[in-house]
């Protein structure tokens, strides 16, 4: 069964630290970026102010980059390519600045000199109003706080055994994430994650004096600029499935489906080998998204 990945609500401070990725090994199994607080994130729901946008591709083959400021102290980056046509169309029509909500997949990208950056590849991006942004701030704050509490519980238990954590009332999946996070990043600096929560509460309650007693001079924890190449190597099965589905649509000019040879050469151009293509089309057939009207054609359902 195909259970849709949950959309995590988290702040950029946590997202941008999620540089460790668990690659889906089996077919259909998704990849996860693990955050320093132990969230195993495939999809996110994030909101904030779209402050910058730029199409670094062409009009026909757009590659949009944008920067969204989610709290006073943080931003995250979005990248939209030709295989997210709805999101590409949407961002083209948004004037900066604007409150936006983004639902998308997390992508990690490692530069030649070994630095890893995290960005979001939106499935949808939409303009929202201020109350909707505030609601998101609250959900992200509650969700972050709950992860901080879980992390704290795990650290004070001082165990690296998942079963022990589960017996403390931590859900199995959370326990798994927490242990990976501790292993990869060590004990998190809670100030980094408390600060955006405090900022969020301050934004929602401007008339209250909100002070969690944090030092006010914590440096902002995000990179200034990131470069994402169009042909970036960080690509998983889900990406390739998307590409093949789009190609099937593009190549189906007469309603009979796409010719296999044409699909194969087009896929090659997208960097998908014929062996990979075979695997992907089998998966798509299993998922009921594609069928073979005859031996020469493949068609999207």
């Amino acid at each position: 069964m195909n259970i849709r990945e949950v959309a995590w609500r988290l702040f950029s401070a946590e997202l941008n630290g999620a540089v460790y990725e668990i690659k889906g090994e089996a077919e259909k199994s998704p990849s996860y970026a693990v955050t320093p607080l132990g969230a195993m994130v495939n999809r996110v729901l994030m909101a904030g102010v779209l402050t910058e946008k730029e199409n670094v591709g062409t009009e026909d083959d757009p590659l949009w980059r944008g920067r969204v400021q989610d709290t006073l102290s943080g931003s995250f980056y979005i990248n939209i390519g030709r295989f997210q046509p709805e999101a590409a169309e949407a961002i083209a029509g948004i004037d900066t600045p604007a409150y936006v909500a983004v639902v998308g997949k997390v992508r990690t990208y490692t530069t030649d000199d070994g630095r890893t950056f995290v960005s979001v590849r939106p499935e949808t991006i939409s303009v929202i109003d201020e109350p909707a942004r505030d609601l998101w701030l609250l959900e992200a704050a509650e969700s972050s706080w709950s992860r901080l509490k879980t992390m704290r519980k795990a650290i004070s238990a001082g165990t690296a055994d998942k079963k022990d954590l589960v017996s403390l009332g931590i859900r199995e999946k959370d326990a798994e994430g927490v242990l990976i996070a501790l292993d990869q990043y060590g004990t998190p600096n809670s100030m980094t994650y408390l600060k955006p929560i405090q900022n969020a509460i301050r934004t929602i309650l401007p008339d209250h004096s909100i002070d969690l007693g944090l030092p006010e001079d914590i440096p902002d924890d995000y990179p200034d600029e990131i470069e994402i190449e169009p042909g970036s190597t960080a690509r998983d099965n889900a990406d390739m499935e998307d590409i093949v589905l789009r190609l099937l649509e593009e190549l189906d000019t007469d309603g009979k489906g796409a010719l296999r040879e044409e699909l194969e050469s087009k896929a090659m151009v997208e960097g998908i080998t014929s062996m990979e293509l075979e695997e992907i089309t089998n998966t798509l057939m299993d998922k009921g998204l594609v069928y073979e009207p005859n031996i020469r054609h493949l068609k999207r359902i």
């Binding site: 069964m1 949950v6 729901l45 998101w136 959900e139 929602i204 009207p293 005859n294 031996i295």
Partner: protein
């Protein structure tokens, strides 16, 4: 174009290919079954029907060869397999598929490598006896809740085998007795004790294993949720009774757990005070529902984060009610579509995500856009997608409360929505609460 016209060309084609291998009337009926009852694509139907009546043909269509498999080796993706199995448990019932009452046989089969559940679709020509050994041929499998399920469709065959096999019990019925809350019941529980109140009861006469029998069914609830039950004995159940059910077992239908009271089940009346039902009975998170596979009559609050394709102003075929694309019904060709409004939403509450299918009345209610207004918008713009875009603006990224039944199939969990409304959230109060908690903890 009427529906006969869709069948006839196929019939003529197939008659030529299958010359003399099948009676005309039977062929015509088979085509109808594929095309009309199951909505099978014409080419797929052709291939399947040729294979059905002329198994020797390769016919140029791509079809997988049959392989013999053991239950323990099933992956849930097999298209065409043979199995020799013993019937561990079987029951017959009727389900509604696209509005048509369809008989199904379902239960558990086993061999020396394990057990799994099976379903035989729309085959009143098949009778299975518990404990009997059969060969299931041309079966296919699906993966459901990480377990393979064996299915026999129209082209499957079942033959009795004169042999006995030792069944290695892997999952059901599980012998370990468990006490459970109704909201935690899930497929695979084989000996479960629950305490709950009978909310409804209904008696039905059915034919099970060739004998007339009365089945009592209805809804039973505790504080954690509601579940459908069926009882194969008269336990003198009455509406409003609070009962403790021992040694019942759970079977799922499309992901929705059902409590079954069989021969080994004991039922006793208990003190009504043990169960106190209030408004919160139906409240669940998405994760809670997904964990058990499905549920009846639940209420979920979450963010509407996506409006899927096929939402907004759609056209339906006047004959079969399927959604049409570009004025073409997949069965009936070009039709004069009947306009309808609907939403296919993704609801995500931060614990998980489910699809929610919202009908016209509820769509009109929450969006404030009536069907006739939607038609006018579409007409003015010359493009029906203005309607779904407008709906997206109204509902997306807003918190909604939905209620209905949640079922699961290979596409994941889906709620058939009975009611939907915007859920007002007092963000300021929420932030105050969070701040207080953090201050107290830090």
């Amino acid at each position: 174009m009427n529906k006969e016209d869709r069948i006839t060309p196929l019939f003529e084609d197939l008659k030529k290919v299958l010359e003399g291998k099948v009676e005309d009337a039977q062929l015509r009926n088979t085509i109808k079954t594929y095309i009309e009852d199951y909505g099978v694509d014409e080419n797929r139907a052709k291939a399947a029907i040729i294979k059905k009546f002329d198994p020797s043909t390769t016919s140029g269509f791509v079809t997988a060869d049959t392989v013999s498999k053991k239950i323990g080796d099933l992956t849930g993706t097999e298209m065409n397999i043979d199995l020799t199995v013993k019937i561990v448990y079987v029951e017959s019932r009727e389900v509604s598929i696209r509005g048509k009452a369809t008989p199904i046989l379902s239960g558990i089969i086993g061999d020396d490598t394990g057990t799994c559940s099976f379903t035989i679709w729309d085959r009143d020509d098949i009778t299975l006896i518990k404990g009997g050994t059969y060969s299931f041929r041309n079966a296919y499998t699906k993966l459901f809740r990480n377990q393979a399920q064996v299915n026999i469709g129209t082209r499957g065959k079942i033959e009795e085998v004169d042999a006995d096999i030792d069944v290695r019990s892997t999952q059901m019925p599980s012998s370990e007795p468990t006490v459970a809350k109704i909201g935690d019941l899930t497929e695979g529980m084989g000996s479960v004790t629950v305490t709950g109140r009978i909310l409804s009861i209904e008696a039905r006469n059915v034919i099970a294993n060739n004998e007339p029998k009365t089945v009592y069914s209805g809804i039973i609830s505790d504080e954690s949720g509601k579940v459908q039950y069926s009882a194969w004995n008269d336990f003198s159940l009455n509406e409003g009774d609070t009962i403790r059910v021992k040694n019942a077992y759970v079977r799922s239908w499309r992901g929705i757990p059902q409590l079954n009271m069989g021969d080994r089940t004991e039922v006793e009346k208990v003190d009504d005070n043990l169960i106190e039902l209030d408004d919160t009975v139906n409240r669940r998170t998405v994760a809670e529902v997904i964990n058990v596979g499905g549920a009846i009559d639940v209420e979920i609050d979450g963010m509407a984060i996506d409006l899927r394709e096929g939402s907004g102003l759609i056209g339906r075929c006047p004959t079969c009610n399927r959604a049409v694309r570009d004025g073409e019904c997949s069965l009936h060709g070009r039709v004069e579509p009947v306009a309808d409004l609907r939403m296919k939403l993704i609801i995500d509450d931060g614990t998980g995500a489910i699809s929610a299918i919202v009908d016209r009345g509820n769509t009109e209610g929450i969006t404030g856009i009536s069907l006739s207004e939607a038609e006018r918008m579409s007409g003015d713009a010359g493009d029906p997608s203005v309607v779904s875009r407008r709906i997206a603006e109204i509902v997306l990224m807003r918190k909604v409360s939905v209620n209905g039944n949640v079922l699961s199939d290979e596409y994941g969990p889906t709620m058939i929505v009975k009611g939907i409304s915007f859920k007002p959230v007092d963000v300021k109060a929420g932030a105050e609460r969070l701040y207080e908690e953090m201050e107290a903890t830090l």
